[in-house]
Every structure is written in C-alpha cells, then in structure tokens.
C-alpha cells in the first residue's frame, strides 16, 4: 500500500492498524514500528488484555434458542406448503421473551470461543453460587467436546 498522498494522521493510523492486526490476530506480536506512538502502543495492549467480552445468562441463551427454533419452524411451514418465504412471520410478530434472572452457570459455557478473553456475565451474579456439581451438570448437558464434558459423560456411563 503506497503512502504517497497520505497525510501524517493517515500514516499514523495505518501504522497503528498494522500493529493491532499483529496484536489481536493471534500472531506473534511484531516489534512495533518506530513510528508507532508509545502511548497508543501501551493503551492498545491494555485494552486487548482488559476489555472483557460479556456473555448473557445460560437461561437466556437457551430460552432464545427455543424462540428461534419456534420461529424457524413457523418459517418452514409456508415453505413446505409452497408458499412464499416472505410470508413467513417476521421478528416483529414474535413477542420478546419475558426476562429471566441471570444464570450463574453461564460463565462456564465452553461453546465456540475464538480465544481466551476475560469474561463477565451480565447481571448481578453471585460467584459463590458456582459449584463443581453445577459445572459438571452444565458440561454434561451441553454435549461439549471439552475434556471436562468427556470425563463427566464417561463417569455417567460407567455408573449406568
């Protein structure tokens, strides 16, 4: 990419962008360019480490999954009858679910996650409510491929 015709601000932004690609892209962090502002470099590393990804409660996740499945089923009926897809009920026709209390087990969900990040669960969740029994139950129920889930299922089958 040519730097000709770009002003200083654009060049600095481009240098920062390349550094962020390296920092956030699961690649070995390259030695930053001398043109990279030290404060920008420091705060980039700070945000990469400290900005958490939030996860909704486990019960919210499952409840919305059910609602989506219901909506999907209602969309398949007109299709099976030869109707137009646009005749399928849209989201505005589906009332939103009632709110549920947060689920303390949600933090243990081990679904498709890109890479470890600090995770916070939305809502007021008591950390003390977490238990190994709950974790084992969640791992077994989610049919996860994690080592813990495999171990729980193996123990369950051995008992049966």
């Amino acid at each position: 990419m040519s730097l000709q015709g770009r002003d200083v601000g654009e060049i600095e932004a481009l240098v920062t962008d390349r550094y962020l690609d390296s920092l956030l892209g699961d690649r070995e962090v390259q030695t930053p360019s001398a043109a990279l502002d030290e404060a920008v470099r420091a705060v980039s590393r700070r945000l990469a480490d400290d900005l958490p990804r939030f996860h909704p409660s486990f019960r919210f996740e499952e409840r919305l999954a059910v609602r989506l499945a219901e909506a999907a089923a209602s969309m398949r009926l007109p299709l099976a009858a030869g109707g137009e897809r646009d005749a399928a009920p849209g989201p505005t026709q589906i009332p939103l679910s009632p709110r549920l209390a947060p689920d303390p087990l949600a933090a243990l969900d081990d679904g498709d996650r890109p890479r470890p990040k600090p995770y916070l669960v939305g809502g007021a969740v008591a950390a003390s409510a977490l238990s190994l029994a709950g974790a084992a139950w969640l791992a077994w129920r989610r049919r996860s491929a994690s080592p813990m889930a495999r171990a729980v299922r193996a123990a369950h089958q051995a008992r049966g």
């Binding site: 770009r6 601000g9 654009e10 600095e12 932004a13 920062t16 962008d17 962020l20 920092l23 956030l24 962090v29 502002d37 404060a39 920008v40 420091a42 705060v43 590393r45 700070r46 945000l47 480490d49 400290d50 900005l51 958490p52 990804r53 939030f54 996860h55 909704p56 919210f60 996740e61 919305l64 999954a65 609602r67 989506l68 499945a69 909506a71 999907a72 398949r76 399928a88 009920p89 989201p91 589906i94 939103l96 679910s97 709110r99 303390p104 933090a107 679904g111 498709d112 890109p114 600090p118 995770y119 916070l120 669960v121 939305g122 809502g123 007021a124 969740v125 008591a126 950390a127 977490l130």
Partner: protein, 204 residues
Amino acid sequence: MDAEPRVTHLDLDRPLVEAAQRDPARFDALYRRYLARVYSYAYYELGDHHAAEDATERTFLAALANLHRFKERARPADGAGASTFRVWLFQIARNVVANERRTERRRPTEPIVETTVVADPLDVEGEVVRREEAGAAWRAVGKLAGDRRRALVLRFVDEMTTAEIAGVLGRSEGAVRVLIHRALRSVARDLETTEHLAPRPPRT
C-alpha cells in the same frame, strides 16, 4: 484513502449460512457462534443487562427472519458494499441498539462495572484487580463519542478487522483506521490522568 468499505476475504460462515438458508432450523449454529459477540456489543453500547438481552434477542430474530435476503459479497470483484454474514449481523445489531439507546435515554441504566466477575471465583484478589482494570478501561472507552466507541469495541472485544468494522459502520476503511487511532490516543490520555500506564510483559 479508501472510498468505500470492502471486505476482501471469503466469508468463513458460508457453509453455516447456506445451510440455514435451506433450513431455518440450522440457524442455531450461527446463533451459538455469535451470541456472546452480539451480546457484548449491545452491553458495551447500552450498559444494561436487560437492555442488552432485549437487543440481542431482537437482533437474532431479525437476522433469522431476513436470512433468505442475505447475499454474501465478500470477493474483491463484488466491489463496494461488500459484506459477510458477520458484517450483516452486526449491521442489524447496530440498528437495533440505536433504537434501544433512544429508549434507554428515557430511563436510567445500571453502570456496567456493577456486573460481577466470575472468570475465576477462586482467585478473589486477582479478580478484584481485574475488575478494577476492566472498569477503568471500560470507563475510558465509554467516554468516547459514538463511532469511536463502537469502533474500539468491535476491534478489541469482537475482534473484527478494520474492513469488517467499515462494513458495520458504513465508513471507508481509511476512515475507520483514523477513527480507531484517534480513539486510542483519547483513551490513553484519559487513563494517564487517573493512573500510570505501567509497562506490561508481552502477550503470550
């Protein structure tokens, strides 16, 4: 500078999207993949657990209902307005959250730092420190204006590329690069006023 947003890589979600377009019941895989990311985006924008859940629900219901209209445009030959499923989904989320924010202005919200850290409940001291650091980082990001804040959240939390963020925000890649650079400088100044940015070991 780039004139239009352009996503130059192929859509890695294509098999799941095509399966869901053939059979809406298969949408569940896309939902599971993006739930936390969409919820995080909504939570950072709205700062409220319930509002973020509402926005997340509306986003996925709208995406499912309109999935048959989505057409991947992820090759260079597709030109301006290129889009992947991920970009399309976050465009929906952005619109939904904008509507939620208009509603939220009429009622107070709980501070986002009031959430409880449960990443490692056995390491109480470490969790307190992490919570304070996350809270400081969030407060600094939360002070940023509209698209600067959204660009940083999409870059650092949702781990999008500049091209993808350009697609979500409807800006050029060059404009997004400048947006993020200026946002980082602003956050750096903000954090320096409240604490010293001590050197940290390299990420592993």
